[in-house]
Amino acid sequence: MATAVENLQTGVDVMDSALESQMTLSMGPQHPSTHGVLRLDLRLDGELVIKAIPDIGYLHTGMEKLFEYKKYQQGIVITDRMDYLNPLGNNLAYVMAAEKLLGLEIPERAQVIRVLMCELQRIASHMVWFGTSCLDMGAMTPFWFTFKEREKILNIIESASGGRMTPSYFRIGGLMMDLPAGFENRVKQFLEGFPDALNTFDTLITGNTIWQSRTQGIGVISKEDAIDWGLTGPSLRGSGVGLDLRRANPYTGYETYDFDVPVENDGDVWSRFLVRMRELRESHKIVKQALERLKPGPIKADAPKVVLPDRDDMRKHMDSLIHHFLIVAEGFNVPAGEVYHAIEASKGELGVYMKSNGGPKPERVHFRGPSFVNLSALPVMAEGEMIADVVAIIGSLDIVLGEIDR
């Protein structure tokens, strides 16, 4: 009776109920390798995983509902808190969806800065993934190296936006403010040191036999399965599908940058690891190109009814002041309609579905989070693996629970 009730709660079919040797292990929600508050319901036969069922929702904050009560501009701060390792990517997806509805033209400089910041953020996000997934498998040293690199990026982001984890730097129609003086030098400094750091990672981990034997052939997902389960981002590219939205469906001028889309064919933890490691070099390349393109110019779209006027202008001119008052106090009306806009976030396709009824607040905002969809394929990958390898598989998926539960 007790088993039947338990099976009902966990959603396991009563029919594949336990042999004598099977047991159920609840991994998480406080387990450190679940990267947040994820609970895994593991059916074990000895050390073999027969079934792994992710149980999510411990971090549910009702963000999508919250958007309905916030003006469009205010919604940006909520997106920061979804995938907190890639806040600028979330900002970008959200503001671009709204800009699509408004039909705004974003000036060149703002676009370049957006690309630059997003790629820096992607490196920072991959740094956390790299550090923590090594840590999960018992390699502690890389963690300190990766967090040093991440610290440099967070300082750069902080110098431009004022926030480290929650920058809210992009605005609908442009940026919060222009880059500070000395910004380019700091990015240059970072770029110079970064290849060294990458070589360090290769010495410590990529070329390490212990690491290779720990990851190769683990958590395999075939090309077909990966597509069927809707995997995106590096997790998909590790299975031999070269889909990258920056290439397939370019936005903010990604079509004009020169970079490769790394693909590996084995579909195991090692492939996904290699894809991300190679992506770091590609992002480094993109930041370098973006830095060269940084030319002076406006950073906000020419839309006085949507974007806040220049601060100096606002202090001096009455009409600017009136616009400032109206935009801040009442927001702006967005034409009725619905859009879906997807970007390539550090973890995969981050899509925003936005519906407007013509008012200053969205009627509905929905996110298609990459972590959420990627996690759903975990049962396929974990089946038949050892319990210690489940940790490696979770690490290779690079999930953030803040985005899964929203």
Binding site: K70, Q73, Q74, G75, V77, I78, T141, K148, E151, N155, E158, S159, A160, S161, G162, G163, T166, S168, M176, M177, P180, A181, G182, F183, N185, R186, T200, T203, L204, G207, N208, T209, I210, W211, S213, L308, R311, M314, R315, L321, H324, F325, V328, A329
Partner: protein, 173 residues
């Protein structure tokens, strides 16, 4: 045989790794011994707010409610009042001023929207981030806590320590 080569290869990997790790010892340190050593923040860092005053010490805020309207977490509470007395006698720079100005730091998310919204440059972000308290009600800061004249006397008042060449539109501190 393969066991032996496994052991050898693993040992080589560990030695290689240790070599790299140990070579880090004489290099520049990135960690800070906080709280013994102060933490550096950037000039645009968004910390606890400051309410500014003009040269004569009169509050700049005109209680226009724009910051409260811009705030995504609704944590600013203002009560406006008019003071018709001459400039020398009143608290505010203008006739209209905020009699009550509270920010609830239990709700504030340090997003900077209020600073962006203020047409009078009356509110900016300071650099204090040590605002933890033992009692939740203490998170409600009133004008007394927020005014720059008061904060300058507090031991928590700090300026951006970064010496790097970075400017800010809102510094004025």
């Amino acid at each position: 045989m393969s066991l032996i080569s496994d052991v050898i290869q693993s040992t080589v990997a560990v030695v290689k790794g240790m070599k790299r790790t140990l070579s880090e010892i004489p290099r520049e340190k990135w960690t800070v011994q906080y709280p013994e050593q102060p933490v550096t923040v950037q000039p645009r860092y968004r910390g606890q707010h400051l309410l500014h005053v003009d040269e004569a010490g009169k509050e700049k805020c005109v209680a226009c409610y724009l910051c409260a309207a811009a705030c995504p977490s609704d944590c600013i509470y203002i009560e406006a009042e008019t003071d018709p007395r001459p400039y020398a006698d009143r608290v505010g720079r203008d006739e209209r001023y905020a009699k009550v100005y509270n920010i609830d730091y239990g709700r504030c998310i340090f997003c900077g929207f209020c600073v962006e919204a203020c047409p009078k440059d009356a509110i900016t972000h300071g650099y204090n981030f040590e605002i933890s308290v033992y009692n939740r009600t203490d998170l409600l800061k009133t004008k007394d806590d927020l005014l720059i004249t008061k904060q300058k006397q507090s031991k928590n008042y700090r300026v951006a320590l970064s010496t790097e060449d970075v400017d800010s539109e809102f510094k004025e501190v």
